[in-house]
């Protein structure tokens, strides 16, 4: 233990010496004559994680369009619209949710680009709205005994016009790979604000929100390819 404490002091000794290197000179700030302009415009794309997930997972299908619009050096208005269908298979129930969603919000680019590069490490928030319906395809009453076992009940019950509202925190990256062509990846943490549940059942999956956990939270993931239509350069 004392070895670590000693080395910690040794380390701190060096840090002190740095604090003395403050420049006091009244040097003339020369304006850099070269200003690197970056494009402003509308960026449109698709989330390709959804088709990948659809092909890996038979119980899911979905499609998502993404768009953002740069309003200042660091701030973008961002939106995603999409469709999702998921078959949720649990021990005692089999249900399908399907519907459309929209997410709207802002992204803040925290990355300082070199020269005229145009990459992003961003954080953002979204408001999400999902309109969906959920069908209980079949269920088995949980009677938990073998003396009078229960049977699978194949009565399908659909509840339409369900809505979900939520907020999201997003963290992600975007990189310009070819001119005006961007690839990006992001993860989001979602908090449910309100949701309709079907009568005598529960919304187990909401399009755009993903699986709904008991705590009313969810996770999302998105991998995008998008193209920037530049309007102007600033």
């Amino acid at each position: 233990m004392s070895k670590y404490i000693t080395s910690l002091f040794l380390f701190l000794a060096f840090t002190v010496s740095f604090s003395q290197e403050k420049e006091l000179g009244d040097s003339v700030i020369e304006n850099d004559s070269i200003v690197y302009k970056t494009p402003y415009g509308l960026r449109l794309g698709i989330d390709i994680s959804k088709p990948i997930k659809s092909s890996l997972n038979n119980s899911f299908s979905g499609f998502e369009l993404v768009a953002d619009y740069r309003i200042s050096k660091r701030i973008f208005i961002a939106t995603e619209i999409g469709f999702e269908k998921e078959n949720t298979i649990e021990d005692f129930t089999n249900s399908t949710s399907r519907g459309n969603y929209i997410r709207v919000g802002l992204n803040f680019n925290a990355y300082d680009n070199w020269l005229d590069m145009n990459n992003e490490i961003f954080t953002g928030f979204r408001y999400g709205l999902g309109l969906f319906d959920q069908t209980l395809n079949s269920h088995t009453p949980n009677v938990n005994n073998l003396y009078f076992p229960s049977e699978v009940i194949n009565i399908s019950l659909t509840e339409s016009d369900l809505t979900a509202h939520w907020t999201e925190f997003v963290v992600g990256i975007k990189a310009e790979t070819l001119k005006n062509l961007f690839v990006g990846a992001s993860v989001s943490y979602k908090i449910l604000l309100s949701i309709n549940d079907p009568t005598n059942f529960k919304s187990l999956f909401a399009p755009g929100f993903n699986r709904i956990f008991e705590s009313g939270t969810g996770f999302g993931f998105n991998y995008t390819i998008s193209y920037l239509i530049p309007f102007t350069k600033k």
Binding site: S49, F92, N142, F148, S150
Partner: protein
């Protein structure tokens, strides 16, 4: 670009490793019928049913209630029917086959499904419950009717014998 692919694969693996994380911890969600046996003379005293065997009409004896001596039992109700007929055999004299006494205890009800949770699914509760018996060794019981059996935290029927 290479770095992005690595990060993407990492994200994807995290995404797909999200497997079923909750198990039903509320079991049993569908209540069983709980019967307690009391002395018909001293009605507040529990009285064992001697060498008790329990079986439903047309079924084998429930394995845990095969010639046992107990003062309470928990038996399942048939959720796919409107009644369950139970036969309760006791032998309080000598254990000989000839001195078996068998009671026919009938429970009539309306089953109803109620959603519990994602992992537990639907439970079955029993509404408008009526008990009837042929008074062979059972002298009396209480109550005769119940509005519903929703849980098994307390005895549903007291049987006096």
């Amino acid at each position: 670009m290479k770095r992005i692919i690595i990060i993407f694969t990492l994200f994807l693996s995290v995404f797909y490793s999200c497997e079923k994380d909750d198990f039903c911890t509320k079991n049993p969600v569908t209540p069983m019928l709980i019967i307690r046996f009391y002395d018909n003379m001293e009605r507040s005293n529990l009285k064992n049913a001697e060498l008790l065997s329990v079986w439903a009409e047309g079924k084998d004896t429930i394995s845990e209630y095969k010639s046992i001596t107990k003062d309470s039992i928990a038996i399942p109700l048939n959720s796919t029917a409107l009644e369950t007929i139970y036969h309760l055999k006791i032998n309080s004299f000598d254990g000989n086959l000839a001195s078996n006494q068998t009671e026919t205890f009938t429970i009539q009800y309306t089953p109803e499904e109620k959603f519990v949770s994602r992992s537990c699914g639907f439970k079955v509760i029993f509404n408008d419950v009526t008990f009837t018996t042929n008074n062979n060794w059972i002298d009396d019981f209480t109550p005769f009717n119940l509005t519903s059996i929703e849980n098994q935290s307390a005895a549903h029927v007291k049987i006096y014998h």
